[in-house]
């Protein structure tokens, strides 16, 4: 098996997870993964061995996914600087075992693109607000407020669905 095939075998699943969070559906996620690998093989000489290859490959995938996201959506972020409001933790009263990942992903996809991106980056991909602000070229406050809004919306949706199921 060629080196490229080895790389694919090692990282395809991990990178597909990234893709699926930023794609509208499974097919879009496949396209994103394909483009990401083509980008990785093209730019592999740019990998300077400063961090792990996986981290670098994830960043490349993230950039491809975000670019696709940008191409399809108009990312206009709410400029809100209320950081106190943004720092609040949000809780939901659910039984974790009864909630599937597909359900949670479907809830994320119902968010508007601006909330969806910030929530994914901060919560699922563990970017800091500083990194998000640099990546999306927004202020840290805007990142925080958009995250807070996203959390609230998701909380509401989860609570509603729990009530319905009861």
């Amino acid at each position: 098996m060629s080196a490229q095939a080895e790389i694919y075998k090692l990282f395809a699943d991990k990178l597909f997870r990234v893709c699926i969070k930023y794609s509208k559906n499974y097919q879009d996620a496949q396209d994103t993964l394909q483009d990401s690998f083509l980008m990785i093989f093209k730019d592999i000489k740019k990998f300077k061995h400063k961090g792990s290859f996986e981290g670098w490959a994830k960043r490349v995938t993230m950039n491809v996914a975000l670019q696709k996201f940008r191409d399809k959506s108009v990312l206009q972020f709410d400029v809100l600087e209320d950081s106190k409001f943004a720092e609040e933790d949000v809780f939901v009263d659910v039984d974790e075992k009864n909630i599937s990942l597909d359900f949670l992903l479907s809830l994320i996809k119902q968010l508007t693109p601006k909330y969806q991106v910030v929530f994914n980056l901060y919560v699922l991909d563990k970017y800091s607000h500083l990194e998000i602000s640099e990546l999306l070229k927004i202020s840290i406050g805007t990142s925080k407020s958009n995250l807070s809004r996203a959390r609230k919306i998701l909380q509401e949706k989860i609570n509603n669905s729990t009530k319905k199921s009861l």
């Binding site: 080196a3 694919y8 395809a12 699943d13 496949q30 394909q34 083509l38 949000v90 659910v94 974790e96």
Partner: protein, 445 residues
């Protein structure tokens, strides 16, 4: 139970088992191959373009040089003319000097004589004479003597220098029109001078009457070629097919190639050629068996769908079946080759030319097949998965050009081509090399 919403999402993502679709790799691989092909093709186009530009540059340089040579010849002609003119002027000067001396000695009337020749403008010689024809006649006789002595020297000099070709066909010296009838003697002097001048330019005129006809230089040639060659490797063929075939002997098989090559003659010594050739590289691996134990998986051989046999080094079949059949494996790798080569003439005679060739070829994979061969049948049953779609080869060789006519040339070449970048997962030592001959009759234009 209350749970932080971030934790809820993170935990679920962690727990999940998301797997990438298995078929996606083949799509990526296809795109990668296409991209590699495009990159090589664009590289080839780029190299061809640069080569073409180089041809053009060298061509125009050669043209300039040829123009410069023409100018030199022209200057040479001028020089020759000037020499003749000077020679005549010198003669005139001698004549005049002599006349003056005669006049002085005889203390007679002043003779104002002015002979002038303007050969380049085709003007006539004007001889103005005032008086004393006798003196002039006497002077003329003596001048003639001096004149011929100097003339023979000049002629010899010109012969040696060989700069007399291309002079005007007729010496533009008009004869004695300006002389009046009463001055017949003077006319005869002028005639004699002109005759002398004609003698002086004899060679020039002779050469000029036979103008050099330069044949049109045909720099391009296109040659359909047909060749036969053998393929080989520096290391065992079996390694590139399967690690388990390491001990199996392999032999090279003769193959054929055909195509076209286009050559451009940059100078007498140097020419450039490119072409398109279809060729196959073939190898035979001996002492194998076709077994029906299909769980034997080769590292590089991919069996065609529906093929229920496998190459094996042992003759064991499934239990209850007779022993596995003894076969040979024939691997054929077909390429479309785009050679780009420089030819340097080692021997250059009008009819025959021998050249040293060096260059490289871009190879695009066209055929990838593995056949099982017995005494009874030969059947395509597999291909290999470690051949790259595009590769290169270094080319070296010698060729001869023999001119059959002005337009047609016979060309034959002995070539050695070392392939590299042939396999995706083997080093270049396993890349094949081919050696063989090709020949064809080319058309020059």
């Amino acid at each position: 139970m209350k749970i932080n919403i971030d934790k809820l999402f993170q935990n679920k993502i962690k727990e999940s088992r998301i797997t990438a679709p298995s078929k996606l790799w083949s799509a990526i691989e296809t795109k990668l191959k296409r991209r590699r092909m495009l990159r090589l093709l664009s590289w080839f186009i780029g190299v061809s373009f640069v080569s073409l530009m180089s041809f053009m540059f060298l061509f125009f340089q050669a043209e300039k040089k040829s123009t410069a040579d023409t100018t030199k010849i022209s200057t040479s002609k001028e020089y020759s003319k000037n020499k003749i003119e000077t020679s005549i002027d010198n003669k005139d000067a001698v004549s005049e000097k002599f006349e003056k001396n005669q006049i002085k000695n005889n203390k007679k009337k002043v003779v104002n004589r002015n002979l002038s020749t303007n050969i380049t403008k085709g003007k006539a010689i004007y001889v103005n004479k005032t008086t004393d024809v006798k003196n002039i006649q006497l002077a003329a006789k003596k001048v003639e003597t001096t004149f011929f002595t100097s003339e023979s020297k000049n002629n010899q000099h010109k012969k040696n220098k060989k700069i007399i070709s291309g002079l005007p066909k007729k010496h533009p010296v008009k004869q004695e029109k300006s002389f009046g009838s009463k001055n017949d003697s003077l006319n005869s002097l002028a005639l004699k001078k002109i005759d002398s001048s004609k003698v002086l330019n004899k060679n020039a005129v002779i050469n000029e009457e036979k103008p050099v006809v330069t044949e049109k230089n045909r720099k391009w040639s296109i040659t359909p070629i047909f060749g036969v060659f053998n393929s080989s490797r520096y290391s065992e063929i079996s390694l590139a097919l399967d690690n388990s075939f390491e001990d199996n002997s392999s032999v090279e098989l003769p193959s054929i190639s055909f195509g076209y090559k286009l050559a451009y003659e940059v100078s007498d010594k140097l020419s450039l050629q490119l072409g398109i050739v279809s060729k196959e590289v073939r190898f035979l691996t001996k002492d194998l068996f076709l077994t029906d134990i299909t769980d034997f998986n080769s590292s590089n051989i991919v069996y065609n769908p529906g093929v229920l046999v496998r190459f094996s080094t042992s003759n064991i079949n499934l239990s209850g079946n007779p022993g596995a059949q003894s076969v040979s494996l024939v691997q054929t790798i077909g390429y479309t080759e785009f050679p780009l080569e420089i030819r340097y003439a080692l021997y250059n005679k009008p009819k025959l030319k021998a050249n040293f060739i060096v260059g490289l070829s871009f190879l695009f994979l066209e055929k990838n097949e593995i056949r099982s061969k017995t005494g009874l049948f030969s059947e395509r049953i597999a291909s290999v998965n470690n051949l790259l779609d595009s590769s290169l080869s270094y080319n070296f060789g010698l060729d001869i050009d023999y001119d059959l006519s002005k337009r047609f040339v016979f060309n034959a070449a002995i070539m050695l081509k070392k392939h590299f970048n042939t396999y995706s997962n083997y080093n270049n030592k396993t890349g094949p090399f081919v050696r063989g001959i090709h020949a064809g009759i080319g058309y020059k234009f």
